[in-house]
C-alpha cells in the first residue's frame, strides 16, 4: 500500500502545464544578454522603519522624564515671625543718633547668625521689658543690655555706647535661611541625536536639565532695616527633598545562544546609567550619576524572523552591580549587588549573519535589597520600564 505522501509526490510530478509563449521570449531575451527585469526587492525599506521607529521611541523615552511634577514658578514665603519680634526692639533703639556707625555694625562680624532663631527672639523679648520699663533709664543701662543681645566684642560695645543697636540690628533674613524664594523650573532642554537610524538609540545622550533661578534677594543694596540683625543660623547643605530622576539609559553587548529552533539563551554585559538631580538647601541642584554593570540571563522566544530582522519575547533575571556613583562630581557610596526579574520584547536588526543590533523595551522588577542605598529611578520605581539597546553576537546562526 502506497503512502499518502507518495501519491502526493506522483500527482505533483504529473503537472505539465504549458507555459505561455511570452515566457519563452523572455528566456530568449535573457540568453541574448538582455538584462532581466530587476528582481523586486524582497526586503522593502519599510521594514527598516520598524527598528528605526523603535529606536525613535527609545530616544523619546530617554529624554529627561521628571519623576516629580515640575511646578513651574514656586514662591516660597519669607519667614516672618522673627521680624515681628525685632520690630518692637527697633522702636526702642530709634532714638540712637550716631548713624555713621551703621556701616560698621553691618560688617560680617556682627551679623553672624546665632544658633537658632528662637534663642534670638527670646533674647530680644527679654530685652524689651527693660526698654519699656526703664524709659528714663541711663545710657549705662543700655550699654549693659545691648551687648548681651548682640553679643559684640568689648571694644565694639565701647564704640557703640552712644550708638544704638541699630548698627547691629536688621530684620533681614538672608535668603539662604530657607528655600530659595523664587525658583523657576524650566522643563529640561534635552535633545537626542538620532543619527543613523538605530544608532540613535545607542548614541542618545542624556542631556542635563537646566534650572533657572531668579536672582535671590540679598541684603546687599537693601536699605538698612531697623531692628536687630538676626544673625543667620549656621546652615547645613541638606537635600530639600526635591529631586528629579531621568529615564535610565541602557546599552550593552549581548550574546544569543540558540537552544532550539525558536529558543535562545541571551546573556552578556549591560551598562545602565541612572541620572538624578537633587536640590540642596545651600548649593542648589546637584546631579547624581550612578553607573551599573549587569549580567542579564534571558530565555528568548522568536516570534518571527527573516534574514534581516528578529522579533522576540523573553524573560529572565539580571544581576547588577554599581560600578560608580557620583554626586556633583564627588564619589558617593555605591549600591551593592542586586537582582531584577526581567520581561522583554525586542527587535533585532541583523547587520551580518552573526551580529545584530537590538532594541528591547523591557519591564523589570527589582528585588528589594538592603544593598541598595542610592536613590535612583529604580529605587523610585522598582517595577520599571526601560529600553535597552546594543549589539548582539548570534552564535550558531547559519
Amino acid at each position: 500500500m502506497r503512502k499518502w505522501e507518495d501519491i502526493v509526490k506522483d500527482k505533483m510530478e504529473e503537472f505539465d502545464e504549458t507555459l505561455p509563449e511570452s515566457v519563452f521570449v523572455e528566456f530568449h531575451a535573457m540568453r541574448n544578454g538582455a538584462a532581466p527585469d530587476p528582481a523586486p526587492k524582497r526586503f522593502p525599506l519599510e521594514w527598516a522603519l520598524v527598528p528605526a521607529v523603535a529606536a525613535g521611541l527609545a530616544a523619546v523615552l530617554l529624554l529627561r522624564h521628571p519623576s516629580t511634577l515640575d511646578n513651574g514658578i514656586q514662591i516660597i514665603h519669607q519667614p516672618v515671625q522673627p521680624v515681628a519680634a525685632v520690630t518692637d526692639s527697633v522702636e526702642v533703639v530709634e532714638t540712637i543718633q550716631d548713624q555713621p556707625l551703621i556701616a560698621q555694625a553691618s560688617t560680617p562680624k556682627v551679623t553672624r547668625r546665632p544658633d537658632s532663631y528662637p534663642q534670638k527672639t527670646e533674647d530680644i523679648e527679654m530685652f524689651e521689658p527693660e526698654e519699656e520699663t526703664s524709659n528714663a533709664g541711663t545710657q549705662e543701662e543700655k550699654k549693659q543690655t545691648v551687648p548681651k543681645t548682640v553679643q559684640t566684642s568689648e571694644t565694639k560695645e565701647e564704640k557703640t555706647i552712644d550708638e544704638p543697636v541699630v548698627t547691629t540690628t536688621s530684620p533681614f533674613i538672608p535668603e539662604s535661611v530657607g528655600s530659595k524664594p523664587v525658583i523657576m523650573k524650566v522643563a529640561p532642554a534635552a535633545g537626542v541625536i538620532a543619527g543613523g537610524g538605530l544608532l540613535a538609540a545607542i548614541a542618545t545622550p542624556l542631556l542635563s536639565s537646566g534650572t533657572f533661578e531668579d536672582a535671590a534677594p540679598t541684603n546687599q543694596g537693601e536699605p538698612p532695616y531697623g531692628g536687630i540683625i538676626m544673625e543667620p543660623e549656621p546652615q547645613k547643605d541638606e537635600p530639600t527633598g526635591s529631586h528629579t530622576h531621568c529615564f535610565p539609559f541602557k546599552g550593552g553587548l549581548s550574546v544569543g545562544i540558540p537552544v532550539a529552533e525558536r529558543l535562545k539563551v541571551t546573556t552578556g554585559l549591560e551598562y545602565t546609567l541612572y541620572q538624578s538631580s537633587f536640590t540642596y538647601t545651600l548649593s542648589g541642584e546637584k546631579k547624581q550619576f550612578a553607573h551599573y554593570l549587569g549580567i542579564p540571563v534571558r530565555l528568548d522566544w522568536t516570534l518571527a524572523n527573516n534574514r534581516w530582522l528578529d522579533v522576540y519575547l523573553g524573560g529572565g533575571i539580571e544581576g547588577d552591580y554599581c560600578i560608580g556613583a557620583t554626586l556633583a562630581g564627588e564619589s558617593i557610596k555605591r549600591d551593592g549587588f542586586s537582582f531584577s526579574l526581567l520581561g522583554a520584547g525586542g527587535i533585532q536588526l541583523n547587520i551580518t549573519k552573526n551580529i545584530g543590533l537590538y532594541v528591547e523595551p523591557e519591564l523589570s522588577w527589582t528585588i528589594p535589597s538592603e544593598s541598595r542605598v542610592l536613590e535612583t529611578w529604580r529605587s523610585e520605581y522598582p517595577f520599571m520600564f526601560s529600553v535597552a539597546t546594543g549589539l548582539r553576537i548570534n552564535l550558531g546562526r547559519k
Binding site: 501519491i7 528566456f27 540568453r31
Partner: protein, 186 residues
C-alpha cells in the same frame, strides 16, 4: 535534429553556446522546472521568474554538469532550482511561529483510494497554502527526496526542527484532505 539529442549531447551543445540547443533545453525542462518552482513558491509570477533564473544559471554553468545517467540533467537543474527557491525562502520570508506548535497530530492518514480521488490541482493549492518553511520542508522531504540532515543544512535549522516542521506540514495537509473528502461526501 535537436529534439533527438540525448541529455549528454544536449549539454555539450549548450556548453558551446548553441542557441538552438538552449531553446531545446528550455522546451524539455521549462514546464517541469516551473512546476517544481510552483511547489516551493506560493506566487505564480515568482515561480516563473525562478524557473527562468534557474535555466539561465544552468546554461551558464552547463560546463560543470556531469552526466551520470538518464534523467541526471533534469536532476541537476532541479537541484539548482531548489537551492534558489530555498535561498529565496531563507532570505526573504518571515518565518512565523505557528500557534499549534504543541498540538498533537491525531488525524488519521488518508487511504490510497481517498488520495486518488483528490485532484492534483487541489493538492498543489493546499501545499501552496502551507507556511514557507512547512512548504519547503514538505517538498524537500516528501517529493524531492532530501534527508532531514540536508534540509537542516540548507534551511539553516536543526534536524529536529526539520522533523517538527514536517510533522506540522503533514498534519495541515491531512486536515485539508479530510475536510475536502468530508465535503465531497456531503
Amino acid at each position: 535534429m535537436y529534439k533527438e539529442l540525448d541529455e549528454q549531447s544536449l549539454a555539450r551543445y549548450c556548453s558551446q553556446r548553441d542557441r538552438k540547443a538552449e531553446d531545446e533545453l528550455y522546451r524539455r525542462y521549462a514546464v517541469r522546472v516551473n512546476a517544481l518552482c510552483r511547489r516551493y513558491l506560493r506566487d505564480e509570477e515568482e515561480a516563473k521568474d525562478l524557473m527562468l533564473e534557474t535555466l539561465n544559471q544552468a546554461l551558464d554553468r552547463i560546463d560543470t554538469y556531469k552526466f551520470t545517467g538518464k534523467g541526471s540533467l533534469y536532476g541537476w537543474i532541479s537541484r539548482i532550482a531548489i537551492n534558489k527557491a530555498i535561498d529565496q525562502i531563507r532570505k526573504q520570508r518571515w518565518r512565523t511561529v505557528p500557534l499549534d506548535y504543541w498540538a498533537r497530530d491525531n488525524i488519521p492518514k488518508p487511504t490510497e483510494d481517498e488520495m486518488e480521488a483528490i485532484p492534483k490541482e487541489k493538492l498543489r493549492e493546499w501545499i501552496s497554502e502551507l507556511t514557507d518553511m512547512r512548504r519547503a520542508v514538505f517538498n524537500m522531504y516528501c517529493i524531492d527526496g532530501y534527508s532531514h540532515q540536508e534540509i537542516a543544512r540548507m534551511l539553516g535549522i536543526t534536524e529536529t526542527g526539520s522533523t517538527s516542521i514536517l510533522a506540522k506540514a503533514r498534519k495541515q495537509l491531512k486536515d485539508k484532505i479530510k475536510r475536502y473528502l468530508k465535503e465531497q461526501d456531503q
